[in-house]
Symmetry: C2
Subunit: 209 residues, 2 copies
DNA sequence: CCTAAACGTGAACACTTGTTTACTTTCGAG
DNA sequence: CTCGAAAGTAAACAAGTGTTCACGTTTAGG
């Protein structure tokens, strides 16, 4: 069965997410699964291979999720009047979903923690961390706000995305995790209203000129 | 001389901040300093003792810095009219300084990275990480905004503090680090103006009622 | 039923880990 | 100058590392 192979990287991920790759031994992983470490090498050639498998799994899942989000974009893009409005609402909804994803998804949550622990080890991990969690999402929001005509899109994007990023960490250490998730939603909602409000002002100013 | 003892934990911190405590060997630390690992044990009883020394050093420095900030508070607190205004300005200035501190200070910057890597290892590290970087600062800002009469102080605090927290990570991976620092300042400045503006509205609304 | 592949075991491998020990060097105070 | 403590060295230590290998066990299909 390929079931064991799957169980191996899942438990490995859990351990990597808590202690970091180097601090977890092959014996630890095997022990957690109730098998000997020799058996592990029937499924993976290396300890590194388990790690690589996890990374690959995320890259695959990320590609799938990206497809889901960008695909139904065709439904809007007409209606230039309300384009911005719905676009910001879509961003907000997507962001809420992303927060749930990175904090609660049984794969994404430990993956985020693992990446957090590995980000300074090598350039490749730094790149992935930035791409998935820091500069990447920030840049996406910046681009979107910029294309919607907002001034200072970087600042606005930072203010919009940063609460999510902060609350990932707060969530990890919080007792009442659901309260943190609710706070994240509230922050996103508040910022959505600010942005739509300011967009209205921009629009009316444009009409005057 | 106690100079060697100091150089040991400084280089150890640098290594811990990059690879994590467990992934750094005593030989690594000694090698980096050009001495044998045996010599290391003339200065520290343990590998752990080096780590503990670093933590203690930060706790001490943190106490000193906290004293600096809270001490000249006495100068304001009269002038109830402009109390809020100056208080928010002081928060902003202090926050800017904190950003420089956690990103550029030769001790605080690697310490932050080290804590980031150790946060999931044990409760103690989780506590320190939250206290110094996540829930701690967030709670402080929340309390301040709450005591100034703002509604939804948690959301406002998250929106105010989160950009700093996000930009710590962006800073770490950025090529143009000074641009990130400038962006952090801009975000803080923008949020300061929002808060003072909304406070004005609150005030006039109060006068009407 | 037999076979062959897949899965798992446990001992061995060379190497690294943190720590200790016996011995040498360095060096400042009396 | 001398002496003794402080600082550093090199080797040894048991324990743990990732990896391999020869050997059982399970299991599914011809």
């Amino acid at each position: 069965m390929g079931q064991t192979k799957e169980k191996i990287w899942i438990t490995a991920l859990e351990l990597f997410a808590q202690n970091g790759y180097e601090a977890v031994s092959v014996s630890d992983i095997a022990g957690q699964l109730g098998i000997t470490k020799g058996a592990l090498y029937k499924h993976y050639t290396n300890k590194r291979a388990i790690f690589d498998c996890i990374i690959a799994r995320m890259e695959q899942q990320d590609a799938e999720r990206a497809g889901e989000f960008t695909l139904p974009e065709g439904t809007l893009a007409q209606m230039p009047e309300k384009y911005c409005h719905t676009s910001l609402e879509r961003l907000t909804a997507y962001s809420k979903e992303q927060f749930r994803y990175w904090t609660q998804d049984p794969f994404a949550a430990p993956f985020r923690r693992m990446l957090t622990l590995e980000q300074y080890r090598c350039d490749e991990m730094a790149r992935l961390y930035q791409q998935y969690l820091a500069a990447g999402p920030l840049g996406c929001v910046t681009d979107l706000l910029g294309s919607l005509g907002f001034d200072h899109p970087q600042q606005r994007a930072a203010v919009f995305y940063a609460p999510m990023f902060l609350l990932y960490s707060v969530y990890d250490g919080a007792e009442d995790k659901e309260a943190v998730a609710a706070l994240a939603d509230d922050c996103l909602e508040r910022e959505l209203q600010r942005l739509t409000g300011e967009q209205e002002i921009e629009r009316t100013n444009h009409k005057k000129a």
